[in-house]
């Protein structure tokens, strides 16, 4: 039984110089067989394991992760959470996640630092204005809080934005989702890991999957660097490396893996208390609790697994940031990194069964998977446990690329892909 985190446990542990905290999760060796194995110990994978154990009573399961948990895109994103997507299917999916976010710290007994500071999307040309207004209406019809803001209202909500009409891409308006915000990305992975571990899930780190063993058209187990693990159900949640896993199973996916970059500045005093995203000029900015500006750039257009990206992408983003926020002109950037994002042709995820029995894929989140972490885990757990999708992820099946029933969120999702 895990000790509950509270102010009292904090005080108690202070007396022993915080040297006697209980381990948040064990470090077990893999068993020979599990009822299900999740490949990928990021936020989505750990959330999947957590909900499999919690809601579907599947305790004899494991998460295998090739590095350490939360070390991939979970620790590389810009932590933005929102649900203001255009289409009904996406709105259902992302708002399901947002509703779970709202109570997640309490549920996990782990402070994920969820902060509903609002997310503002800017319009820089007339087509942006039309698109954002349309999306605002669509959001409201789906019960998602959305407001359209005039240039003056944008300036009032975030005073440091340059709303002069003389800049190259003037701010013509924007949208605001007040329930949106940010969370501490590592804490999400750690909180889910701790919760899953407590219910008996084995979290196996530094265990890379080398092969997926099939018997005809059903799975038998996984070849890993820690030996063979027998299982009848495999849930792959490997983000940028999904295609690599699919190739092991002889499955084709409609994905392309590309570098997406982000960077943070030196820490400064609070200056921006919301998240501002700009699709047209491709610059996203928020401020972490440490005081760093967290800046999201765009994806490169070439396939790469190198976790680097092109210099001109960062340069373009910073040009846009400086025009929109002249106040940042003398700030220095401290760190820059890349993550590999798996992008679907329709910029919507895949949460689906496959043609191989017992093999499930949760992938294709592209540039915006973090926001969906709890919902993705919940729905993917449902899909694995019941061998059928939940109604909220039914539209995000792999077969949509054959049927043509795509969920086209390119641009419409308020972000350029």
């Amino acid at each position: 039984m895990k000790n509950k985190y509270s102010i009292f446990s904090l005080i108690k542990n202070a007396f022993s110089y915080h040297e006697n905290w209980q381990k948040a999760w064990k470090d077990p060796a893999p068993k020979k067989e599990y009822d299900a194995v999740i490949v990928g110990g990021g936020g989505h994978g750990l959330a999947t394991a957590y909900y499999l154990a919690k809601k579907h009573n599947m305790i004899n399961i494991a998460v295998v992760e090739k590095n350490w948990i939360g070390g991939g895109n979970t620790g590389r994103n810009t932590t933005i959470i929102r649900s203001n997507y255009l289409w009904d299917a996406s709105a259902g999916l992302y708002d399901h996640a947002l509703k779970i976010w709202e109570g997640l710290s309490q549920e996990l007994n782990y402070n994920i630092m969820f902060s509903q500071r609002g997310v503002m999307n800017l319009a820089h040309n007339l087509q942006d204005v039309r698109d954002l207004k349309r999306r605002t209406h669509a959001n409201r019809l789906n019960g998602i809080d959305a407001y359209y803001l005039s240039t003056e209202e944008v300036k009032k909500f975030c005073p440091i934005i340059n709303t002069s009409s003389n800049i190259r891409y003037p701010v013509l308006g924007g949208t605001l989702q007040k329930r949106a915000g940010t969370a501490r990305h590592d804490a999400v992975a750690w909180g889910y890991a701790r919760g899953a571990d407590e219910m008996g899930v084995d979290i196996i780190q530094n265990c890379e999957v080398k092969g997926i063993k099939r018997n005809g058209d059903e799975v038998e187990g996984l070849e890993t660097t820690k030996g063979f693990i027998k299982t009848k159900k495999i849930g792959v949640v490997a983000a940028g490396h999904s295609s690599v896993l699919a190739n092991m199973a002889g499955l084709r996916l409609p994905l392309e893996s590309k570098p997406l970059q982000a960077l943070v500045s030196e820490p400064v005093k609070p200056i921006i208390d919301t998240v501002v995203m700009s699709n047209a000029v491709h610059a996203y900015v928020s401020q972490s609790d440490k005081g760093e500006l967290v800046i999201g750039a765009g994806t490169d257009d070439y396939i790469s697994y190198s976790q680097k990206g092109s210099h001109q992408i960062v340069e373009g983003t910073l040009n846009a940031i400086l025009e929109l926020y002249p106040i940042f002109s003398r700030m220095r950037m401290l760190r820059q990194w890349g993550g590999i994002v798996d992008i679907c042709p329709d910029a919507s995820p895949i949460l689906s069964k496959t043609s191989i029995k017992g093999l499930y894929f949760n992938c294709g989140w592209g540039t915006g998977g973090f926001k969906a972490t709890p919902g993705s885990g919940d729905l993917f757990a449902h899909t694995i446990a019941n061998d059928e999708p939940h109604k909220l992820n039914a539209a995000f099946n792999l077969n949509r690329f054959v049927s043509g029933d795509l969920v086209d969120e390119h641009g419409a999702a308020a972000v350029a892909h």
Partner: protein, 91 residues
């Protein structure tokens, strides 16, 4: 960032180029005879290899010509560049 040796213009900065994805995907010869699975295969399914991959690139801010490239996607190293229409030298 890398330098790309355009077969028509010589070495140029990567920022002048546009990636065109996987190479040697042949357009179906009899499009009317394809079923939905075959169309999905042609339109959407990709190898997305981690390692050596054949790609198409376009010198978008230069001669605007297309060419093929053999590149290691795990470290972005360019192995080989050859002109469009030439048979891929390695199968």
């Amino acid at each position: 960032m890398f330098i790309i040796n355009c077969p028509f213009c010589g070495e140029r900065d990567q920022s002048e180029f546009k990636a065109g994805g996987e190479a040697h995907i042949e357009r179906p010869k009899q499009p009317t005879e394809l079923n939905d699975e075959e169309w999905a295969e042609y339109l959407f399914m990709r190898k997305n290899i981690k390692g050596i991959q054949f790609e198409r690139w376009n010198h978008a801010h230069g001669c605007r010509k297309w060419f093929n490239m053999l590149r290691d996607t795990s470290n972005d190293e360019i192995k080989l560049i050859y002109k469009m229409g030439e048979k891929s030298p390695i199968e």
